[in-house]
């Protein structure tokens, strides 16, 4: 069977499954719509949380990030998992005990302030919308690369699928589809990894393969990778390149940000009991760790595989015409490009940029729109670099490699059967759709429950609120799809912004609400605004105000950063500012009323959580 046929079968089959679940798991009450009726088993919720959390970026881009950054990419591995420790111990059980539907609802009630609730809604919507744009783009890209359909068509198909199960089923439908999506994505991720580890090291467990000797007897895999990379003028794979301060702060920002992201927190509202919320965070991390501990093996092995394939056995390059078919296939998608700097017809990979400007290739097209081909059949590129050798490199680098290729092309590089490639396509889509749905639910519940029911129209009936929730969901899907197709310039900055906001505003407000009984409304609002404000200013100063290019006050380089702190790492500092300001302000203003202090005492103990519902 052809590759395309396999992909249609896998993608079509999984989509049918998601729709089937939607029909089966319809929501008929607001509790089902917002929190799946609080009836999800902790292990099932752990699986759904893992799919909710692991986005298109985790699935497609992370291994590539590790492949290219080596040791320094550890910040993502630790940052995106360590947050679950904070979530499990500092937030999830208490927020579950509180027993309501949304994160802003807790903030509004705990700080007896509609202002606090509105500030929380704004942070939630900004963080979630920026995040969801990336997912919608991921859906379009996955469709485009695997099925060769237009990007817009891909986004539209993805939107329609999410529309069916999220509007009908709300959190209930989303939960069960996320469980199915987790199964799809984890198989898609681990199967190629097992094959690659087996081929390279003889060990079928990728986690162990990382520390194993190579099957060809040339020593330990990582030691070999270090040597190969240094020979090509790169820094050694396992050696630190950034500063320790930056690594610590970035890891901390990602951890706090993870714990403060509303679409993750609300997943813990769906379990029946407080003790389920504790266990569920552990299960979520089990399911996440399966992928996250596989990723370092995939990254390092894919890098070694790629260098070996391109530079060949004698390390002098491989003739373009002799390269395996995957090279040409991914060259067609623009993720790979080659310019023959030394004119020897061979493809060589080393440190340095093969292309000018930002290092990305600009392909030349024929008049009829088709790709222009050179003498060897390669795609012609208009912006080669000067072809100089980088320090320590044996030859000029001749190729551009997009980091996403480390996962997308992995099955082909390892020569796996077509159905594995099809599975990877379905897995990438599952990762993007499951995260998109979770984010959309966080957005729509903030609109229908916090803004409409909580502030503007408290008198609406449950039926009306459920309808409003569905309409808000539909609206959010349309906005997200539109932004996915027409991504604003800042879409690439999503990570810095979403995590910065969650870390500097939401996490401290939630934590102090539970652990500091005397925290009052003025303190919390002042803390949130100063944490948020300082983080936004720090990001905008280097990346441009509202990310408009050219409006940055300082160039975004290490020399200009205060104490060498990169904008992505500032969330942790913003959180600290939030804590300090909130505590000082709360000390000099009136203590919270008696009933609020009782509320805090009540959420600190599990007893009496079972019966709690929305209203």
């Amino acid at each position: 069977m052809e590759l395309q046929t396999w992909i249609y079968i896998f993608v079509g089959g999984t989509f049918m499954l998601y729709i089937g679940i939607a029909v089966w798991a319809r929501a008929s009450t607001t509790s089902e719509f917002y929190v799946a009726g609080k009836g999800i088993h902790p292990v099932a919720n752990g699986m759904a949380t893992a799919a909710d959390w692991m986005s298109a970026a985790s699935f497609i881009s992370m291994a590539g990030l590790i492949a290219f950054k080596g040791y320094d990419a550890s910040v993502y591995l630790m940052g995106w998992t360590g947050g679950y420790v904070l979530l499990a111990m500092l937030l999830a059980p208490y927020l579950r005990k509180f027993g309501k539907f949304t994160v802003p609802e807790f903030i509004g009630e705990r700080y007896y302030s509609q202002t606090a609730r509105v500030v929380a809604v704004i942070c939630l919507i900004v963080a979630s919308i920026t995040y969801v744009i990336g997912q919608m783009k991921g859906v379009g890209v996955a469709f485009g690369r695997f099925l060769e359909v237009d990007f817009e068509v891909g986004v539209l198909v993805g939107m329609s699928i999410v529309f069916v199960y999220a509007v009908l089923g709300g959190m209930k439908g989303i939960t069960y589809t996320q469980i199915a999506q987790y199964c799809v994505l984890i198989f898609a991720y681990t199967i190629p990894a097992i094959f690659i580890s087996l081929t390279l090291t003889g060990n079928p467990v990728p986690q162990l393969g990382l520390g194993s000797e190579l099957a060809d007897g040339s020593g330990y895999m990582l030691a070999k990778l270090d040597t190969v990379m240094m020979d090509l003028g790169f820094k050694a794979y396992t050696v630190q390149k950034g500063t320790s301060l930056n690594m610590v702060l970035l890891t901390l920002s990602l951890m706090i940000g993870t714990a403060g992201l509303p679409h993750v927190i609300i997943r813990f509202f769906t379990v029946p009991k407080v003790r389920d919320a504790r266990a569920s965070a552990g299960w979520a991390l089990v399911f996440i760790a399966i992928l996250y501990t596989t990723a370092p093996a995939v990254g390092s092995m894919a890098r070694l595989n790629m260098i070996n394939t391109v530079n060949g056995v004698d390390s002098q390059g491989t003739a373009y015409t002799a390269l395996p078919s995957w090279f040409k296939r991914w060259e067609n998608t623009g993720l790979l490009a080659w310019y023959d700097h030394n004119g020897d017809g061979k493809v060589q990979h080393a440190a340095g940029k093969a292309f000018g400007g930002k290092g990305k290739p600009s392909f030349v097209a024929n008049d009829d729109g088709s790709a222009k081909r050179g003498g060897y059949g390669e795609r012609v590129v208009s912006n080669p670099s000067d072809g100089g050798r980088a320090t320590g490199a044996p030859f000029a680098n001749e190729i551009y490699v997009d980091r996403d290729i480390m996962v997308l092309a992995n099955p082909e590089i390892a020569d796996l059967p077509f159905w594995v490639i099809a599975l990877v396509a379905a897995g990438g889509l599952a990762a993007a759709l499951s995260t998109a749905a979770g984010l959309l639910l966080a957005i729509s519940s903030a609109i229908s429950h916090d803004l409409l029911k909580g502030i503007f129209r408290p008198d609406i009936s449950e039926k009306q609120e459920l309808m409003a929730g569905r309409i808000a969901m539909a609206g959010a899907i349309i906005v997200a799809g539109y932004l996915g197709m027409n991504p604003p310039g800042f879409a690439a900055q999503v990570v810095a912004l979403a995590f910065g906001l969650a870390a500097s505003s939401i996490f401290p407000a939630l934590m102090m609400g539970i652990f500091y009984k005397k925290m009052n409304n003025t303190g919390a609002v002042a803390g949130m605004l100063s944490g948020l404000g300082s983080t936004l200013v720090y990001i905008f100063v280097y990346k441009g105000w509202l990310f408009i290019p050219g409006t940055n006050n300082l160039a975004n380089t290490a020399d200009n950063w205060i104490m060498g702190i990169q904008p992505e790492s500032f969330g942790a500092v913003g959180a600290l500012i939030n804590f300090v300001v909130a505590i000082i302000v709360s000390r000099v203003t009136a203590a919270p009323p008696e009933h609020i202090q009782h509320l805090v005492e009540d959420i600190r103990v599990p007893k009496g959580a079972g019966a709690a519902t929305g209203h």
């Binding site: 059980p93 266990a279 600190r604 103990v605 599990p606």
Partner: protein, 84 residues
């Protein structure tokens, strides 16, 4: 807060503090700050510091959460604040 639930909260804070110290040590200390020193020790073909940064910390996080869940459930019963 009554006497016994005050004790419960103190025991909870003590437990969480211990677990978060371990959380800090395996990731920030072993994985980043002391990485070069620990890399002197090799397990298989991986430096210990590198291993903590890319795998060991994640495994430790897992254990921490399950220990927390188990100990908290025990505390809930001891202070009679458990559900049902």
């Amino acid at each position: 807060m009554s006497g016994s639930s005050g004790e419960y909260w103190k025991a909870n804070i003590r437990l969480v503090s211990i677990l978060l110290v371990i959380w800090f040590v395996v990731s920030y200390l072993f994985g980043i700050i002391l990485v070069d020193t620990l890399n002197q020790i090799q397990i298989g073909g991986v430096g210990l510091g590198f291993w903590f940064a890319q795998q060991g910390s994640i495994f430790t996080f897992l254990i921490l959460i399950f220990v927390y869940a188990k100990k908290m459930n025990a505390l809930d019963r001891k202070f009679n604040v458990h559900e049902d």
